[in-house]
Point group: C2
Chain length 260, copies 2
């Protein structure tokens, strides 16, 4: 294990840059897994980190110790930092001080979309994206296609909110959604408060594509035109809208319910 | 309309205090509605603000103008601020510069809980609370009971995420949940990943209490003991958990579905 004690150490500067700049993460095609829970989930799903970073005070922590051993066994280098340097990298308050640097997964697009999938057009809020990824993973949906305008899936905020769902999913980013949807042969469902058909009336006992959009503006019109079904979630109140992550959860789990 | 141009003006200092300190808002029993959408929803549901604050550059904005007229008609004073002073009060970036100061609603507890309700034990995340309030309002559930450890409902963050749902609901805060639940005669449902009964097997065509807890620790054991049903949302993936706001949306809308 190597120790770094100076802020001016080139590797520390690089870590600091990765931790604080989303542009740096995109450019380096690397990201940070911040906290024991995410690191553990990553290893559990077969990931091999590029680098492990641990806060000095957490070296002997009972949750950290087995993860350090697994890193050592797979040849991953561990860097130990004084807490004050570590805390400048982490966004987790009062957490256990362990993080991984990993290569950002970037899977190749599948030849065709024939399994249930989620398509996200310009979704803006990291918490919403994380919640949607978590709900999709819990509902057994594996493929997520994001437009270039959608918030970056592998940002620390989205990963915290996703609680490890990322590692169960194939997340395709910067996808040209119009091109993708043109070739889809399974139903493409978009929710709309004006639709006549409810989600309960659609046969979800088959693979479908769920299409969700921007929190304020919804799905772009040219993509709405490619939906085969506009469906509504019937509501009982005076408010005619749901948070997009709440809508997505209701849709995904209506599909689970129909499959029971 | 009165103009304030100095940071040292006592009323401006008071506003600044309200805008930046959650403690100040609790103590004054007043809160801020930040942005045109929330202000409009408040008026629409019969609210009368204590004070209206407008940014100078938005005085003639087409969405602001009718709201200023309604404030004038109801005798609410409007204060105009230079943009630089206004922006120091607002958390909304690139928004239309209008806010209301209102008395924080603080309804008296009902004599009995006989309508469908939501009970929140130590919920921590403002975005989750706002999403739950929005989903409840959309599902036609009116009563929300929050423990003293639950995040404050009338904070600007929760209100932004609630999108006006607050004004459709009776939100009871600092409620002693054990005392409340002891006297409840309708089913009290708590979600649990270990339960044998699914939400689809429970008769939701009757008023029920939905009980949700802390994002990490769930519902406190002494409250779980007061639930009449432990129910599960069947899942299909390797992840055995959902975000609490996603769970709540699925539960509330399963109740709506059963009522169709």
């Amino acid at each position: 294990m190597k120790s770094i004690t100076s802020r001016d150490n080139p590797l520390y500067k690089e870590l600091r840059h990765l931790a604080t700049s989303s542009q740096a993460r995109r450019k380096a095609e690397r990201t940070l897994l911040d906290g024991v829970h995410l690191c553990e989930a990553y290893l559990q799903h077969g990931g091999v980190p590029q680098l492990c970073v641990v806060a000095e005070s957490c070296l002997a922590h009972h949750e950290v110790d087995p993860l350090l051993a697994r890193c050592a066994a797979s040849g991953t280098q561990t860097i130990c930092l004084p807490d004050v340097l570590y805390n400048a990298l982490s966004q987790v308050e009062h957490g256990v001080g362990l993080m991984f640097i990993i290569a950002t997964p970037n899977p190749a697009l599948p030849k065709s979309v024939d399994q249930s999938s989620v398509v996200l057009d310009n979704l803006q809020d990291p918490g919403n994206l994380g919640s949607i990824l978590r709900s999709a993973a819990a509902a057994g949906i594996k493929n997520i296609f994001c437009s270039s305008g959608t918030v970056f899936s592998w940002s620390p905020k989205v990963m915290r909110s996703g609680m490890g769902a990322h590692f169960l999913l194939n997340i395709y980013e910067n996808v040209h959604l119009e091109e993708l949807l043109k070739d889809v042969r399974i139903p493409v469902l978009a929710t709309s408060s004006h639709a006549a058909e409810t989600i309960y009336q659609v046969d979800l006992n088959q693979p479908v594509v769920w299409l969700f959009g921007h929190e304020g503006q919804g799905v772009a019109p040219e993509l709405m035109d490619l939906a085969t079904h506009n469906v509504t979630i019937p509501q009982r109140g005076e408010i005619e809208s749901l948070n997009v992550a709440a809508s997505a959860a209701i849709c995904f789990f209506e599909q689970v319910r129909q499959s029971l």
